[in-house]
Symmetry: D5
Subunit: 122 residues, 10 copies
């Protein structure tokens, strides 16, 4: 497992040229995979990152590398969703961000976790 | 039929690591089956559990076993939907929960039952 | 044509076990057919009944027989939709009810009629 | 029930202007309904007529009226499919004809019946 | 081109039997065609009429004939949408009406125009 | 588990009125469920029965009851498919029969088993 | 109605640069409309032209104008399909050509006509 | 790359005949392509322009030519979306406008950018 | 990377109870992932295994573990498809086997590789 | 326009490791664009390359760059399809190859061109 601090360093940002305006950026990554922390078997899902940038935008290729870094980590659905939100918020400090994690069927049940962040005093 | 008290014991919960934040968990179980209380013939449906956890999350495998326990029970659509809501609320005490039960065609008619719970003084 | 009073007698209700809670029941009947009052030719449509039960629920098999009773009646789209609403409201006195009637293409045009009822002093 | 001989008289044909060439005509009638001969409850299905005309084509409006004539007949899936084939073959004597009858779910099971006719010495 | 006054005369209405209740009627006509006023080439689109009737309903067959009357008229997307709204409002005086005109791809671009009317002092 | 001999007795047949002609009957049962013989957990699938009747047709309601009888049997995918084929062939002796069993995802993998029977000296 | 001889003149062809090889060209025109010869009401359909060019290809814009020329002609489904085949064959003399005309629902029934041509001594 | 000032000159407008009414115009252009400013490789996306016209409407063909002008420009997703909004607002001064840019998968991730403009003192 | 010999040992087989009959087994695994041998970036695809068993069937859970073993291997599309075929053939010696590997978009292009094996002297 | 000889040099191949077996490789490129040779306006389409490799496989990234090279070329549908086939055959000499070019709607008509190559004395 990659040390969690290291994950953050994979993320890059760039300056938002249109910070005068609220607008929405959505990145959909349908090829997310991590491991079940109990069984070690792979989990598969789709991660959707939706946000209103403030001063900074997330660089797309670094987002891909960041998400790929979970490939061999054992982590629960609820935790990975909230952790991705915490990490992305910490690097780009958006006005708003929502993470939707849509996991494939396990034991006949599929699961979706949705977490969001709103900037204080925005 | 499994004694109803026994059903509750099938459900397991785990601590919500992110209780500081309202977020939504949705589990979709398209392989639900029970029996018609009138005819004894099998009913088939999809159960969707959507909730905002408070202190506790529902463990996924125990949810599957709990839902499977209705397999040989004779129970009405309206009752099973409300009972699942009552049971899940009683074990994980969520901030919010909604159960959607989407039953297959019987006599040319399909049916959907939706019931929700909101925590008092939340 | 079945005398309209007779239609009402086809509908059966049962006691709502969960009247302490507002919840929604939806029945979708895609096999509705009646006759065009002008041409006598058959019309085909899908009737969706959505309601919040109060003291009583509509029994599913009687609903099917009630809807089948329109098979050889000549009646306009707008009338059949509003009449089904009136009849169902009169037998189960719901907190809320909506009827959606979605009719197949006639003369290159399809039609949808939606009527709803809200209980007074609810 | 309409006397079966009467049904045949509902069908009209017209001269095939292009009988020098084998070509295919397909009519799809998704609004077919008849009655179950056991229970009297309505059955719903889609009838597809596919044929290579010889000297005669089936007139479309008369086909619709012919199919509508089954509305209040009690008849089995297998019988209605083969009877439609026999009737249409007898009035238009096609080089080839296939009837596909695709019936809606009953008791959780949907059914399709396919019967075809090939002209002898064609 | 049919003189515009003549178009209005194609529309027929009938008395709304359920004017005591607000309900919605939607007619979808996917076979609309007119001509481009610049090039004379045909345009194709889908017209959706959604309204809450007051005293009068639009008769369906006359609506079809009215829409067909644009077949050889040269008229802009924006104009035809607003004109259909004006005409239908003038004949049936609805409590509410919305026209959605969804035009096919031209030059790689498809277009949708939506206009609505609300009754004053309703 | 129902004794296997008992299963066969659930199936009923009726006389094929059109045995002079080869035609095809297809029944699709999307609500099949049995148990995994290893884990005891429920399996879900869709059973498609396609056949050319000879002297006898399978009665539809008895087919449903026959398929339902597997509900609490532990049996492998490959076995249940071939056994259904053997049973149905033995009761209706068709000119041709094919069973397609389409099972839901287990461990991220879905499975389809197809077996067919051709009458000897047909 | 455009004189039929005039229709042919609307079609243009260009030299096939790859006549050394059999290859297939398919043009799909979903915006075809003509008039019903009985009622004068518009018919709508999709025309698919599939062919193997020999020495000549059909120019796409002229094909569009040719198909548009049927806009105000009253003509039967079977006739228009065979006539388009005859016309296109006469101007481009293809090694093979198939016309598929897929007409919208009329009286609850949709229709598809398919006609094909094979070059003699090819 | 076309000088940015030149792009604006590609856009044409025409007088809104129905400026007395708020109505919505939506143009969907699924054939947008530009170049990645980093790699020079082509990007592909769908641009949706939704607006409420005030005095002026955007001429459709000029919109197409304007969008085509990005074909060989290297520009970021976020920039092109906001720039199209700025340009279209400057030429037609709408009461409201929203640009949605839906870009194809790159590195396993698809992206959507949404920006909107509201007229001040409208 | 797991030593290739080790991969084979992950696969288990069981005795085919119905080897007297040719029948088809299809397993669809949509969660396959390996690494690009050039860039080290993850590839994602769907592996479909279709075969006619002879004496032996592939055990489903072992197939899943076998496919999961490629998770951290760098291997080309063409190679992985042919290698899976070789491995599965060597352990279950089927009468027929086909592997279809359907890989997600890379650089705007998706790819499908299909390889099959037929038993000699079958 | 890139000199045609130059295009060929963009394509790279690699050794087929499994040339002992006939197997099929399919690459689907939905982001193809070129220019109309008459109007200069962009055309958009999807190119599908399906082939059975002999000694050599087409390298995927070079295929992408090769297809991108048509971006600013004016070329007819029929020509581009046949030329891609000729070029790919000349560099990888496959046992079989088929090119399917599926072009977007122009003037209300979409087009598909299919050309294939079979190795002589294979």
């Amino acid at each position: 497992m990659i040390i969690m601090d290291k994950k953050l360093k994979l993320l890059e940002v760039f300056k938002n040229q249109y910070s005068n305006r609220d607008y929405t950026v959505t990145h959909v990554a349908p090829e997310f995979t991590s491991l079940c922390p109990k069984t070690g078997q792979p989990d598969f899902g789709k991660i959707t990152v939706e946000y209103i940038p403030d001063k900074l935008c997330i660089e797309l290729k670094s987002l891909k590398i960041y998400l790929n870094s979970y490939r061999n980590d054992g982590i629960f659905y609820e935790s990975v969703t909230n952790k991705i939100l915490d990490d992305l918020v910490s690097v780009c400090k958006p006005r708003y961000m929502k993470i939707t994690a849509d996991f494939n069927v396990r034991g006949g049940i599929s699961s979706v976790i949705v977490a969001e962040h709103k900037k204080i005093n925005n």
